[in-house]
Every structure is written in C-alpha cells, then in structure tokens.
C-alpha cells in the first residue's frame, strides 16, 4: 500500500521519532492519519501498518476497537460530531444533536445513503466555554444552533 507523498513524509518522520526499536509507538498515530486518507481501517491497512511498525497484525487489530476515532467501516465524507456532554447539554447540545439526526435522516454512527455525511454523538471535545460545539471532520464550530448547523450542512451539500 502506498499513501500520498505528504503522508509518506509524515510517516517517515513518525517512525524515527521514538527510541531505537520502539516503532510500535507509531501504530495509533499512523492508523488515524492513514484512516483519513483510506476512509477506514480495513484489513489491508492493518497489515500495512503492522509491516511498517514491525509488529504483528494482531497487535494493530487490538487497538482499533479501543480508540473511538478509529472506524472499521467508512464514515461519510463529512463526519458530523455533536457534543452532548455537560457544558454543551446545559446550552442545548442534546436538542442540537436531535435536530442533526432529523436533518441528515441518520442516527449515531450512521452514514447517509450517498456516503456524504455521517453523524456521531461525541463526548466533551474541549470546546466547553464556546458550547454547544460541533466538529465536522477536524473543523471546530462553536456556539452552534440548530439553524446554524442546518445552514452548514446545506453549504457542504452545495459545495459538492
């Protein structure tokens, strides 16, 4: 498997930054960066990461289920993550999540039929003082209302 030149550059650095013989340390960061490019953590990726980090595929496989950001199935092109934890809850986070479900017609960790959007109810993402917060892929959105989120989703749809 090969990745984009940018990713190959990141991986080359990653494999060198840990102490001698400790390339296993690169497993989790490599998986998450590769997932962004490949779409999901599939069998082939697990084997590739194992080969590069000099560990067994099993050692890679066992971390996949542990980390919530790693997915075995592809998520949407736009992964909409709505926080409903306490600070967000107090200012409408759950209502925002309900409205996102309705708008996209999908539930927790589901993907729209066209593969464009997926939705996830997430735990605190470090935006508590600017709540309710939403992260779409890696972009943070603060003080989000249902109307603002609807507009955001519409503009992403139009951008395709």
């Amino acid at each position: 498997m090969t990745f984009s030149p940018q990713l190959e550059e990141i991986f080359a650095k990653m494999l060198q930054q840990y102490p001698e013989g400790r390339t296993r340390s690169a497993v989790v960061p490599m998986l998450i960066y590769a997932q962004d490019e490949v779409g999901s953590v599939n069998r082939e990726l697990i084997e590739e990461v194992a080969r590069r980090c000099k560990v067994t595929p099993l050692q890679v496989d066992e971390v996949v289920g542990y980390y919530s950001m790693l997915h075995r199935k592809p998520m949407g092109k736009y992964h909409v993550q709505v926080c409903t934890n306490i600070s967000c809850l107090l200012v409408g986070g759950e209502e925002l999540y309900e409205s996102a479900k309705k708008k996209l017609g999908i539930g927790h960790k589901q993907v729209t039929a066209d593969g464009q959007f997926s939705l996830e109810e997430v735990e605190c993402m470090g935006a508590c003082s600017w709540a309710p917060a939403v992260e779409i892929n890696y972009d943070f959105h603060h003080f989000v209302t249902p109307e603002k989120l609807n507009q955001l989703i519409d503009s992403l749809k139009r951008a395709q």
Partner: protein
Amino acid sequence: MAKQLFNQPSPLETMVLSKRFALEGSETLDVYLKNDGFKAFLKAKEMTPEAIIDEVKASALRGRGGAGFPTGLKWSFVPRTSPKPRVIVVNADESEPGTCKDRLLIEYDPHQMIEGILIAGLAVDAHVGYVYIRGEYRYLIEKMDRAIAEAYSKGYLGNNVAGTGWKFDLYTHSGAGAYECGEETALLDSLEGKRGIPRMKPPFPAVAGAWGLPTLLNNVETFSAIPPIIRDGGAAFAALGTPKNGGTRLVCISGHVNKPGVYELPLGFPMMKAIDEVAGGIPGGRKLKAVVPGGSSCPILTASECDIPMDYDTLAKIGSMLGSGGMVVLDETTDMVRFALRIMRFYQHESCGWCIPCREGTTWLRKILQRFYEGHGRREDISLLGELSKNMLGRTFCALGDAAAMPTISIVEKFTEDFERYLARETVAV
C-alpha cells in the same frame, strides 16, 4: 483589526500565562522572543538542576491536569543520574468534561510551553520530549508541529538549543479518542502503541514510565507556567495565589453564564465573583443552583457552598476539588437527574473495562439513572444510587472509578428533591 480571540478577556484577569494571547502572531517564535521569550531558559541554563527544582517548589505550582500534585516535588522524584535516559511527556489529552484551556495555550503560545519543557529537560537532564495530543485536536497537532519546526529551524530545539550547545528533541504524538488515555499511565501505554489501560503503581512514571524509562509527565498548563516562574522567581508566582496554592490558572467557565470563556485568575479568586463579574452572571437574572468546580469528576457544589475562594485547599475542605479548571455553572432550571445521567453515560462509555467495580458500577448506575429519567424510577433507587457509587470509591484500579462515583454521590445527596420530583412524575425543565 484586533485579533479574534475565543472570548473577550476580562479586566479582572491576572494574565501571566495568557499575557501574549492577544498579540498578533503570538504563535510565532519572533513574537515570543520579542516578549520575554527564552529569557527563562537562558537563566535556567546557568542554574543547577537543584536550583531550578527549588525555584519550582518555591512557586507552589501544583499540577494543572487534575490531581493538583506539587510540581517541584514531582520533578525531584525523577532519578536524574540514572543510567537510563529520561523522557518528558506533555499531557495534552484534555478531555475532562468542562475543560478547554490547554487548547488555547498551544494555539496561542506554543513556544511558552516549549520553553517550559526545555527547562524541565535541564532540571531532570532529559533530552527528548513528546507532546501527546488528543486526536480530535488535529488542527492543534498541526499548529504544534509548525511551532516545533520553527523552533528547530531557528535553533531553539535540536543540537544547540539557543546557542548553548545543549541538545533537546521534541515531537508530537496523536491520540485517537479515549478519555482514559488522559490518565498518566494509560497515556504511556497509548504512547507505546497499545490500548490505554492504566498500569500498576508503583513503579511511578518518574522511575519507570514511557518504554520503561524515567519519565516526567505534566499537563500543558503546568509546563506553560514554568517560564514565568523561572524568569520572575518562584516567590513572585507564589505570591499571586494563596499559601501553598501558587500563581494563576486558566479557569474554563461554561454553562449558564452570560460570558462563558477561559479566564486566567489567581488561585484563591472568589468563586461568586468569577461567576457574577468575570463571566457576566447568569442569563435572565435566574438563580444559581449548582457549580461543578473543576471538571465533571468533581463533587458538585450547591449554590450556598459557592461563596468561597477557589484554591485547592478550600475545595478539599468542603469535600470537592479544583480539578482541571473546568467550572460549569448550573442555574435553577437545571434538571439534576438529567445532568447526573449525562455524566454517568460519559463514564460508562469511557470506562476501559479493566476492573469490575468500574465496569459494572458505571453500567448499573447508568441503567438506574436512565430508568429514573424515563419516569420509571422507584424510591429505593435513590439510596441505591448512593450505595452503588460509594461501593466503587477506592476499589477501582485507576481514578476513573472515583471520578464517576464522586459527582453521583454528591448530586444524589445534595439534590434529592430533584429525584423525588421524578417519583411524583413531575419533571423539571432544563
């Protein structure tokens, strides 16, 4: 045009760590160097490791990650003369609900944190460091990588730090979504490429941490406080706070306030003043009901308990904690059953499942709270919630078990009426 900050600063703040936040280009090394940057490192380079650690002890700085352990003391535990190389790890996992401050320290002033790490390197004779950043903060990892690259290119990292001939390498490491990886030993396992399961202590990380090497692990804010401490002296930093509670800290105010935001306040700052004046009070003139003083793991305070100075010792005296600095304000309309349920859903989701009291306890507590919230609660459930939580205290492998139990016990005990109202099938609005 002025720089767009996450929130407007308050005139009541004491800006020490955040003093450069509003400067244009504050994330660049040039701006850092023009505004006191690296003065502390050059000073520390002329000091003995013992003198550096003494200065940190004199500052009365306590860890800002949650546990509040005295930083100077922690540094003194690292075996500086061990034949094994020492490692520095920065905890930037920031995932305690209510906490959003480390983000700002990295986004607005990454070089301050780098300088703090370098000074720690001098103190424990370490030459390599890793910044473990939660995976959701990818944009921050990129910002941190850029700051590190700039520091290397200008000679503030690498083989000849600031022209002193001293060597230090710094790298970032991405997490991938797991609250438990904020716990220091789980973080170390995660850094080694494994699941984040906590380790048995002792040995403590100071002795055998990352890859079995002596490891100094602190929170982002803890490292960021080091340059001002060395530059202006530990005593000056200590004097900003109260005895044994040195300095300032970034308080993240969220929930029912008019001006939520992250504000740098001295330790010992009055809690009510933080709510009413710094954060602009509660919207609509509504009354205060409760405060989560330092992240969701802390026992909750009722309105009548909030007339206190915010320092570690005062909070401990009234049975709570200053925790991670995440202060969540709840007004009188808040439904405490719903609030307790959301807290427990979080801990149940994040329990790594390693030990039974935590795995089973959080599952049961969540079920009972869910049943209550759905209107099927029974009177016995109220005492059952308290008993089940108390049974978890001190019986779990890591502090996550206590973190789930403590807020629950306090909510059930202090807001029993909210639960009773559910029995009468009358819900309180949120």
